[in-house]
């Protein structure tokens, strides 16, 4: 039985693009959006990569942040108590070098939730789940043992989701990689292993070369591409996945930077939308998309957003 959560709004702030939700709080009203997906949390602290970590490409952004984060212990001790107090919904983005490491992050957070009532999630008067209410497994990184990516090796993917599932009764989302020809088998595998939903997708692999020095424009030879540049390609994966697995909830992530692209993701089958690079391009994005979505529903005489999910007329 999949575990759902109720959010105030389908717009979420994407992992790695909004810190732990505090940095944007002054610009993006925390009471206005659906919730925050935290920066990656790993079992041990990670320093991340040297700079340059960023490089702009036409309508895109390459990043190689390297999952800089203080580790799950500091997250539990310093960050979690602050998150819960704020009345926003949070999903923890977990990451690790092995399936066991992902599970360690989930288990440690669960331990804190169980032992510290101040950190426990709440149900607001409007029936919205607030506080820390689920996990997103960032599967787009290499598994140290096999050398393959969690998200592109079905055996490792299944094991990671299964081990995470054992540690929690809360929402568990598998964040898949777009760097595959067909995303459907991976989405199916995640669901069968116990994921309640999938995030489609993450950054695409990309390279940018300084032609004068013939070296990378970033600190790493390759990096992750986000922003409008990946919108159409991400939408393709969302559409394919929804057609093949219509019951599986999809969180769309990749190049949603205006109301038009938000509607396209819903039509293709996403039930929630994540805003990442779009926030950097336009800190007013949340209210602008919300206004655009209402205008679209009015113009199309649709009662609510649910009514348009997956209604892409791909048969003409």
């Amino acid at each position: 039985m999949p575990r759902g959560i109720t959010l105030r709004d389908p717009l979420l702030l994407a992992s790695g693009c909004c810190g732990y939700g505090e940095e944007y709080a002054e610009l993006v009203d925390p009471a206005s959006h659906g919730g925050v997906i935290t920066k990656a949390v790993s079992p041990e602290p990670r320093a991340g990569n040297p700079t340059p970590r960023l490089c702009e490409t036409p309508a895109g952004l390459l990043n190689c942040i390297g999952l800089q984060n203080p580790g799950v212990e500091a997250f539990a001790a310093e960050i979690m108590p602050r998150l819960t107090a704020r009345g926003t919904s949070f999903i923890v983005n977990a990451v690790g070098h092995s399936p066991e490491e992902f599970a360690r992050v989930v288990a440690r957070v669960e331990q804190v939730l169980a032992s510290d009532p101040a950190c426990a999630p709440r149900l607001s008067a409007e029936g919205v789940n607030t506080g820390l209410c689920g996990y997103e497994l960032d599967l787009s990184c290499p598994n140290v043992e096999s050398g393959t990516l969690f998200a592109t090796d079905e055996t490792v993917l299944a094991r990671t989701v299964e081990l995470g599932r054992r540690e929690t009764e809360r929402l568990l989302v598998a964040k898949l990689s777009p760097n595959v020809t067909d995303i459907v088998p991976f989405a199916r595998c995640a669901r069968e292993a116990g994921a309640d939903a999938v995030t489609i997708a993450n950054t695409f692999n990309g390279v940018s070369i300084d032609i004068a020095t013939r070296q990378s424009n970033l600190a790493r030879p390759s990096a992750g591409l986000s922003g409008p540049a990946i919108r159409a390609a991400t939408l393709y994966h969302v559409w394919r996945c929804h057609r093949a697995l219509p019951e599986l909830p999809i969180l769309g992530s990749g190049g949603i930077t205006d109301a038009d692209s938000a509607v396209q993701f819903l039509l293709a089958g996403a039930t929630a939308l994540q805003l990442g690079t779009g926030l950097f391009l336009n800190p007013r994005l949340v209210p602008e998309i919300q206004a655009g979505l209402s205008a679209y529903l009015d113009a199309q005489a649709e009662p609510d957003l649910r009514a348009i999910i997956g209604t892409y007329r791909d048969q003409g």
Binding site: C18, E23, L27, K39, P52, P58, I65, Q68, L279, F280
Partner: protein
């Protein structure tokens, strides 16, 4: 911190490749400290490019204006030269920490070059009202005379010592060579410019003088949310990757671990 549409009231070319942009902001203007910067949408028609960080060169709370000194270094900074007065440019400001200053720091050295001049000039202007008890001295360097944009520097009347690599104006050599040994005459040193310059300054500076550096890194969000803009900073025994846009851009010069 605000994200607002700012109106260009003047955009003047100071010299080929160097510009001065004056923006009018909706009221009320928050307090702005020297060393802080703004994130500017350089081309309002281009919704698919990131904003660009620029130091605040001056801010006037009376008429709600602020100005930016910019150099054409790439696509969007060059686009700025074409922006006419009256254009609205979205702007996220004020960002970052400013330069720390204490009332007993009266003899102030500014060591800078390139676009690093901007925050130092704002600091000089900020300290002006303290009158004769303040002694601000600028040590400014560039490759050649035009880099030390006379149309910009002549607007300030504190003493300035100039250095150029080709000797076309002032001392022939680097600004750090020019400054080397002078720190005993100062209570504090502020620096902003190319990393190579600040690293050289870090190496020659006597340990007793407080010194602050304003750093530059490529930025995406400008508010501390993406961790794209970090610099390696020593905090006690540890070295941490701190965000230039949020924890900086100003850091204690000696705490900065400059890359090679």
């Amino acid at each position: 911190m605000e994200y607002v549409p700012a109106t260009v009231i003047e955009n003047r070319e100071l010299a080929p490749g160097h510009g001065l942009l004056t923006l009018s902001l909706p009221e009320p203007q928050p307090e702005i400290k020297p060393g802080q910067f703004l994130h500017l949408r350089c081309d309002p028609g281009d919704k698919h490019s990131l904003m660009r960080p620029f130091s605040i060169l001056d801010a006037n709370a009376l008429d709600n204006t602020l100005s930016v000194y910019y150099k054409g270094l790439g696509r969007l900074s060059n686009h700025l030269f074409t922006v006419p007065a009256g254009t609205e440019l979205d702007c996220l400001y004020p960002l970052g920490t400013g330069f720390p200053w204490q009332p007993d720091w009266r003899r102030v050295a500014l060591v800078g070059g390139g676009v690093g001049l901007a925050p130092l000039l704002f600091l000089a202007r900020h300290l002006e009202p303290y009158g004769e008890r303040m002694q601000v001295t600028g040590f400014f360097g560039g490759a050649s005379a035009p880099d030390l944009v006379p149309a910009l520097l002549n607007d300030y009347d504190f003493p300035q010592q100039l250095a150029t690599m080709d000797g076309s104006t002032g001392f022939a050599g680097t600004v750090v060579e020019l400054f080397n040994g002078c720190e005993e005459y100062f209570d504090v040193v502020y620096t902003c410019g190319p990393n190579a310059m600040m690293r050289a300054l870090q190496q020659v500076l006597a340990p007793a003088v407080p010194a602050y550096a304003s750093l530059e890194e490529r930025m995406a969000c400008g508010v501390g949310a993406c961790y794209g803009c970090v610099a390696a900073i020593k905090t006690g025994e540890e070295t941490q990757n701190l965000r230039v846009c949020l924890e900086g851009p100003v850091f204690e010069l000696r705490s900065v671990v400059f890359g090679t």
